[in-house]
């Protein structure tokens, strides 16, 4: 996906975050979000043991013992705190993270997520994905609308292994914003010049269309 599409997704999710929220950002697109928060002050939690993650340091200040969960060098913001992995997951699994922004492999029409394992592929990693799914108060998914092979990410039924029963609240792709509820998935916003028909064609699930649909 083009960097501009990735930035579009990051920007749109940045709008969803509120002042004062505790946010955990997954790898990939989510890591772009801090650049688009403007005046909003959110507190970034990194599951390897930090609350108050700041921007990338200057090259001469890099210390590979101050890193993000993506293993990239970071800094600490004012008021940051350090803790061990068990305390970090008390924070994550105990419901203390306001928003987790996660990448996905698939999401079904009720918001159930698959984001750790591809059947038949050698993905031997789960990391904190299932912990974040189980524990975050709100889950926003950041993803391209389609996988590299053109298959839809939003599907009727997961064909990839689930990350757990807890449901996502929102999906943001380069084309659209969807929200999930017990009733299913709803299109609330179109972010590109795609037609509704075309959007339906490249989406694997039936979605309802919000009466207040926004077209940017």
């Amino acid at each position: 996906m083009s960097q501009s599409a990735r930035i579009k997704i990051a920007k749109r999710i940045a709008q969803e975050l509120s002042d004062g929220e505790i946010v955990n950002l997954g790898v990939g697109i989510p890591t772009l979000i801090p650049d688009y928060l403007g005046d909003k002050k959110v507190y970034l939690q990194s599951e390897n043991g930090l609350l108050g993650m700041g921007p990338t340091p200057e090259p001469q200040q890099v210390n590979m013992d101050l890193i993000s969960a993506s293993k990239k060098p970071i800094t600490m913001e004012i008021g940051a705190s350090l803790f061990d992995s068990s305390d970090s997951f008390v924070m994550i699994r105990g419901g203390h993270i306001d928003v987790a922004v996660l990448g996905i492999l698939q999401v079904d029409e009720f918001g159930e997520i698959a984001n750790w394992s591809v059947p038949g592929k050698d993905v031997l990693g789960v990391g904190g994905a299932m912990d974040l799914v189980a524990g975050a108060k709100k889950i926003i998914l950041a993803s391209t609308h389609q996988a590299k092979d053109g298959s839809p990410k939003l599907v009727k039924k997961l064909t990839y292994p689930t990350s757990g029963g807890k449901k996502a609240n929102m999906l943001v792709t380069e084309h659209a914003v969807f929200t999930f509820s017990n009733k299913g998935v709803e299109l609330v916003e179109i972010l590109s010049d795609i037609s509704l028909e075309e959007l339906q064609k490249i989406t694997g699930a039936n979605f309802t269309i919000s009466q207040e649909l926004i077209r940017n």
């Binding site: 390897n48 590979m64 890193i67 992995s85 031997l124 990391g127 299932m130």
Partner: protein
């Protein structure tokens, strides 16, 4: 009394078939010197519990290449292609555990707790075969405590009693691993007099630490590089 030992002495403390809890998140907070000793030993059939298996040829990646490992227990092996390859070829068993469950299970191992109920991995492939229990209307799966024979951890400083402090996010799994093995060996950058560390800043009290080894690595440009070749 903590014993301050040479890195090569640790080979007397580890035996074939042992389960090692090894600190670190990627290469940060990883006891590189202790790993080097094991990689150059003839130890066999080791099980390593660690979040990752280092990187190809680095950190725990060395143990894999040296043929010491039977099994790896952790949350994320994807970034070490050697591990994936060894697993595909049947040379390495892998047990995948969510990162939070891994940290909590090790903490339980050190806390005398037999197991705990978590929602993480409920209903997933990783949760398959694990006991499901409903507590106060919510469903959980049972995860058992993890204990080791030997913990290999990395700290920034030890005082002469064995109290430890960690650098930034290099803390990660080290404090829980310090509680959960029969023998705990800490590799440290610096040893300071007892009393130098304030009672408020000590993260791992000395009770947990059996042996302290001075690191053979020094930090240059924010990254550890080897300074003394192991003898």
């Amino acid at each position: 009394m903590k014993k301050f030992i040479q890195s090569s002495d640790i080979l007397k403390l580890i035996k074939d078939g042992d389960t090692l809890l090894v600190g670190g998140f990627g290469l940060s907070g990883t006891p590189l010197t202790l790993i080097d000793e094991i990689a150059s030993s003839s130890l066999k059939n080791l099980t390593v519990v660690s979040n990752n298996l280092g990187e190809p040829g680095k950190g725990l990646g060395k143990l894999l290449l040296s043929g010491c490992l039977k099994k790896a227990v952790g949350s994320y092996f994807t970034t070490n292609r050697d591990a994936i390859k060894a697993w595909k070829e049947g040379h390495l068993e892998i047990e995948l555990i969510p990162q939070g469950t891994l940290a909590e299970a090790i903490r339980c191992g050190g806390a005398g707790i037999g197991g705990f109920y978590t929602k993480t991995a409920l209903g997933t492939k990783i949760g398959e075969g694990k006991e499901v229990k409903e507590i106060d209307g919510e469903k959980y799966i049972l995860e058992k405590a993890i204990k080791g024979d030997v913990s290999l951890i990395k700290a920034m400083k030890a005082d002469t009693l064995g109290n430890l402090v960690y650098e930034y996010t290099a803390r990660n799994f080290n404090p829980v691993m310090a509680t959960a093995s029969k023998i705990v060996i800490a590799e440290v950058d610096e040893i300071v007099e007892a009393g130098t560390l304030s009672p408020y800043e000590i993260v791992t009290p000395h009770v947990y630490v059996d042996y302290v080894v001075a690191s053979h690595y020094v930090k240059v440009g924010g990254v550890y590089v080897e300074s003394i070749s192991p003898d």
